[in-house]
Symmetry: C2
Subunit: 152 residues, 2 copies
């Protein structure tokens, strides 16, 4: 087991994990991102799916745009008038692995024994895919063999 520490090796104010938590570590924000990664883009679609108060949704979307996770674009269907859409930026797309990993955690530990409603698979081989850590050569490294290295 991990030894007891009086404090973390990295102070909170220079910790990128802490910054990330600051940016997206909030219930509604995470639920918005979940929907977003499934392809939901429009205000009312988010609102209906999540049942989130409109004022709160408005604020969260603005934060996500401000933090560069979503981009507010204008989309025009022919015959209809232009509408805004919230599209994931590269940074937003970068959260996909994080939420996939959290989904798997939910399957393993928050499911009450229920089978997972979705699984992640390889497009061609249809093999199941799971989150893991790989070294520079793309070989899997067991969690037990990974270490944290502090930069001096």
């Amino acid at each position: 087991m991990i030894p007891r520490a009086r404090k973390s090796p990295v102070p909170l104010d220079t910790c990128h994990l802490a910054k990330a938590i600051e940016m997206i570590g909030d219930r509604w924000t995470l639920l918005i991102l979940r929907a977003s990664l499934f392809g939901v883009r429009r205000f009312d679609d988010f609102q209906k799916e999540l049942g989130i108060p409109r004022t709160v949704l408005s604020g969260r979307l603005a934060n996500l745009v401000e933090n560069g996770v979503l981009e507010k674009q204008t989309y025009k269907e022919d015959g209809k008038r232009a509408r805004p859409e919230y599209i994931l930026t590269e940074a937003g797309e970068g959260l996909r692995p994080v939420l996939m990993a959290l989904t798997q955690w939910g399957d393993d530990f928050a499911s009450d024994g229920a089978l997972p409603p979705i699984t992640f698979t390889h497009a061609k081989s249809r093999q199941k895919v799971r989150p893991a850590f790989v070294d520079e050569d793309g070989r899997e490294t067991p969690l037990s063999e990974t270490r944290v290295s502090l930069r001096r």
Copy 2:
């Protein structure tokens, strides 16, 4: 780019990701888990590191224990009296890959260009390790080749 969806393929109430977000998707909870994964175990150590109000810390720890993420154990140093400690359960340890992935995301997108204060490496080879998805044979699968499969 991902096609627009009117709603997510999985309803919120059967979604394990949503459940996971419900359990740990909150700022303080995530920060507690961060410290926890670094080895912090005691009430006052959490409190000092995070600057979290004591009442709130008390509540969050109770939630985490109730959700089976932390276990409240009693530890006895010789010569001193027994003290409680909050130790990660197996479920709690299972969150390590999630927070590692989020750390990497923070390094990539929330760092303002600063170098990462920590890196994850292989214990022996010292090679850098990064989060990825692997198939059943432990081979890396690019995100672009993964698909979501709905269970019928």
